[in-house]
């Protein structure tokens, strides 16, 4: 039995220790905001926070997260930072098909928490592990830039 914190709640699972955190989140906890893209750590669609650090949930065996604090896109939806990112992505046209967006938002939030006023190069570096096949990234970069201005330190 593995116990950890998921979006602020203590949870338990008896899934095998090698199960991927991604599968556990989607199938056992029905948190389907976290997506599977490549399943190899190259696309960032499955990004979550582990102890406040951005990580790829497709690469995490759940045996290694006992006692950890996990946050998914569903867990940050009530934050002020999320609301600003949500609005900024809409205004900048940063969302097309939307599949990469939960991961992009997680990466954006991780970046802004660490560096509230990033340069364009720092924004591109912050989302460098996230692939988007629709936007060509420029609108996503604009969205993060806008969120940084509006959030001003969030």
């Amino acid at each position: 039995m593995i116990t950890f914190t998921l979006n602020g709640r203590t949870v338990e699972t008896d899934a095998p220790v090698t199960a991927r955190l991604l599968d556990l989140l989607r199938e056992e906890f029905e948190l389907i905001g976290t997506k599977e893209g490549c399943g190899e750590g190259e696309c960032g669609a499955c990004s979550v926070f582990v102890n406040n650090l951005l990580q790829n949930s497709c690469l995490i065996p759940i045996g290694s997260i006992a006692g950890a604090d996990i946050q998914t896109i569903e867990g940050i939806i009530e934050t002020k930072q999320f609301k600003i990112l949500d609005e900024s992505y809409s205004i900048a046209g940063g969302v097309q098909c939307g599949y990469c967006i939960p991961g992009m938002i997680m990466a954006s939030a991780a970046l802004l928490s660490e560096n509230p006023h990033p340069s364009e190069a720092e924004i591109r570096e912050g989302i460098s592990g996230n692939l988007c096949r629709c936007t060509g990234y420029n609108m996503i970069v604009d969205a993060i830039n806008l969120a940084a201005k509006k959030g001003d330190g969030l």
């Binding site: 090698t18 599968d23 190899e40 650090l53 790829n56 995490i60 045996g63 990466a107 570096e125 460098s128």
Partner: protein, 288 residues
């Protein structure tokens, strides 16, 4: 059907080593390579053929400290932790910034990158030019191995099943040095290298005192030749064209890449030699 999986996650390193002494286990640090290597179809846990030992929570494996001027780096330090640590050399940090992407850097470990022993392992060319050593610990004691002896081939390392890599040691470098790392891949972030290159040079009184090169992803392990490096000792910078041509020609003979899904042998060789030539063509020595 539920298959039984044996896994251990001890609170202390000594307990972990005792378990490794009892049975042959798969050691998982960040898991960024092992989870891909044993990947199953969606929703099915990776099948790892041995009992598992998780180690990335062990604080004993995350220490970074100087001892007799050598730099000791805990094997489970993640790339992000290395970037934040004031003891890590600036040149190494610059290289780490070109490796992976934030999410992987928060999870992948230096020890894991070494033990995975990929021919394209990102940190390996640098560790070779730093003459890094690997500290292995077991219940019987410690042993230290040069990285070039430790890595024997693709996914093959000189580790007995009762041992664990606990530290990576960067020997003290006398004086300033200039270190570069170049990686060629399909994408800046998260790409597996087609070719990688690390160069190290240290000058003393206007002459080359020590110069080292290592090439990644152009052979089963990193390509380095101490014989070729020695030919440049005592020369001044900028190097003469004839000296550069001689060194490039010497590496041309020993670099034997392969064709695979990422690149071709011809491309790899051409680019590897260009990277070398570019490094050797430096106009002036600028320690970093």
């Amino acid at each position: 059907m539920i298959e039984k999986i044996t896994a251990y996650r001890f609170e202390r390193l000594d307990e972990t080593l005792s378990q490794l002494n009892r049975e042959d286990c798969a050691i998982i640090a960040g898991g960024t390579d092992v989870m891909v290597l044993h990947k199953s179809r969606r929703g099915v846990p990776p099948k790892i053929p041995k009992p598992i030992v998780f180690i990335n929570h062990l604080s004993e494996l995350k220490q970074v400290y100087q001892h007799h001027k050598d730099l000791h780096i805990g094997a489970c330090c993640t790339y992000s932790e290395l970037l934040e640590n004031p003891l890590i050399p600036f040149a190494l940090k610059n290289a780490i910034k070109t490796i992976a992407a934030p999410a992987i850097r928060n999870r992948g470990t230096l020890g894991g990158n070494i033990c995975n022993a990929s021919p394209a392992g990102d940190m390996l060319p640098l560790l070779y030019v730093y003459n890094a050593k690997v500290l292995l610990r077991s219940v019987k004691g410690d042993r230290m191995v040069e990285i070039s002896d430790f890595i024997q081939g693709p996914r093959q390392v000189q580790r007995f099943h009762n041992e664990m890599v606990t530290e990576i040691i960067l020997p003290f470098v006398l004086g300033d040095s200039h270190v570069v790392f170049e990686k060629v891949g399909n994408r800046n972030a998260d790409a597996i290298a087609k070719v990688s290159f690390a160069g190290f040079v240290r000058m003393s009184k206007g002459r080359i005192d020590d110069i080292r090169f290592a090439f990644g992803a152009v052979g089963p392990t990193m390509v380095r030749s101490i014989d070729i490096e020695r030919r440049l000792v005592g020369k001044t910078i900028p190097l003469a064209d004839a000296d550069i041509a001689e060194i490039v020609a010497a590496f041309d003979k020993i670099i034997r890449p392969i064709d695979d899904q990422r690149s071709t042998a011809a491309y790899r060789k051409t680019v590897a030699l260009h990277l070398l030539r570019y490094f050797l063509s430096m106009k002036q020595y600028q320690p970093n």
